[in-house]
């Protein structure tokens, strides 16, 4: 029975052993199916901890986390949870196991014990979606950063995880790699997958349907991207609004463009120079 909420965090606290302060404070968050949720925060805000709690790599010290109805504290449901919620890490290098592209994409399905034919077809379609089909037999060390991250996503697709959690996937990539990853995610979102995107770069969250901001382990904002990302509050959270939003705000404040202008460059251009 498909649950309404892909992930349900109820008053979750987490403290690393030996740490003085909790990394997560009283987090209550519900993630709907098909959402593209952006989780923003500066370094030390607890975003990575949150990702690991959601994937059952860490169990909350207090409170509970449910993934598709399964409690993360229940060891029997561990593999069910990990199958439904795939995690893509920040360092593209340290999550690739296979020597070739298709070997690595097959790692997940092999772990789950699928028959060889099924593994092969899953790998093929996963590589097609992420645009890596041409590189299927190539060694993984020859891939660029962006390609490696796409491979990690392909691995998640191969086990058919309905939800992807990405922990700062573009932090170590160049602009080309960043664009590649975001493109793939956009198409996955369009297909109905739930995406949890953790980052400190605000411009990447403009594609998200909903944005949650973490500061010092607590949720300080939760809503639509342009509501949350106003210039004033961001500074206090250690985040820098992208030039697009700053420009838009300046132009709205002066009355140059209507306040309902969408946060995109095309919308700005259209509002500034309406074709007459």
């Amino acid at each position: 029975m498909p649950q309404e909420f892909v992930c349900d965090l109820r008053e979750v606290w987490y403290t690393y052993s030996g740490a003085r302060a909790p990394a997560l404070r009283d987090i209550s968050l519900r993630i709907q199916r098909g959402e593209w949720l952006g989780i923003l925060g500066s370094n030390g805000s607890g975003k990575s901890t949150l990702a690991r709690v959601m994937n059952a790599l860490l169990i909350p010290t207090q409170g509970a986390c449910f993934v598709e109805g399964f409690p993360t504290s229940d060891t029997a449901s561990l593999w069910e949870i990990r199958r439904r919620m795939a995690l893509v890490f920040q360092n593209p290098e340290n999550q690739i196991v296979g020597a070739t592209v298709e070997d690595d994409a097959a790692f997940g399905p092999e772990n789950l014990g699928f028959p060889p034919d099924e593994i092969r077809s899953r790998v093929r379609s996963a590589l097609a979606v992420t645009g890596l089909s041409a590189k299927a037999g190539k060694p993984t060390y020859t891939l660029s950063g962006g390609e490696k991250q796409r491979l990690a996503i392909a691995g998640a697709l191969a086990i058919d995880s309905p939800c992807l959690v990405l922990d700062e996937p573009t932090a170590m990539l160049d602009p080309v790699g960043r664009a590649e990853v975001l493109d793939v995610l956009a198409s996955l979102h369009a297909q109905g997958r739930t995406i949890l995107y953790i980052t400190h770069r605000l411009e990447e969250t403009l594609l998200c349907s909903r944005v949650v901001v973490l500061n010092n382990g607590a949720v300080v904002a939760d809503g639509a991207a342009d509501d949350v990302l106003s210039a004033d509050a961001c500074g206090g959270w250690g985040l820098e609004p992208p030039p697009l939003l700053l420009l838009r705000k300046a132009l709205i404040d002066s009355g140059r463009i209507p306040s309902d202008t969408l946060p995109s460059y095309t919308a700005l251009e259209a509002a500034l120079c309406p074709s007459s």
Partner: protein, 276 residues
Amino acid sequence: MRFLNHMTFGQYIPTESLIHRLDPRCKILATTLLLTGIFLADHAVVYILWGVALIVLAGASKLPIRMVLGSARPVLILVLFTGLLHLFFTDGTPLVSVGPLVITREGIRLAAAMSFRLVFLVLFASFLTLTTSPMELADGIESLFSPLVRFGFPAHELAMMMTISLRFIPTLLDETDRIMKAQIARGAMLDQGNFFRRLQSFLPVLIPLFVIVFQRAEDLAVAMESRCYKGGSGRTRMNPLCWKNSDSFALLGVALGIVLVECADRNLSWFVTPLL
């Protein structure tokens, strides 16, 4: 250091040939038989037969004979050293005196025999690695040792360790190169000075490498776990090993060939004095 990118471990050359298509288990077993056969050889003439076998194998694997012979290059120094040792320090009927050292007839025979054995050993072992990808080798070893799992032998873990280590070799080489350059840029004399000076300068290269490797191990373990890795039990493979008739024929052929060579060897004593 980038040149090593195109040389993988054991210099696997991916070509389409009869030998390449054989099951790796067959090749591992056949190589073991071949190596045993070489050590049983007594007569010089037999080595000619082994030479012929080598040429036949090279042809069957579509590898240029020059490339196959080239794989023995790293051990030439060892072969020379062993040969010289046997040449000068074997008791028997003296032939020539070179200063205090005496060359005996037995010495010549022994030197020749040992040198040939070593060279053939390396050449036949290279055949295995030239025609079998590291992945296949790991799979083959895992499969061959799997009956020992019930006695506690970690066949799967061994194979997994092999695969992961091999996958990271090019990456580590790049990182070593980078760290060496960073330290040279700070004045380290890695390319100058006597042996001990250079050794001392290598600590600033080794320590960062260790840090990288340990961090990688930790990250990778977490990534593997989050991709549902739970060890060898229940795990399938995308390209499972499949023992075919051609493998049985090949193995039997090798076994037969060795038996025939051995017979020839023993009967040769009728015509030629044994070498040893």
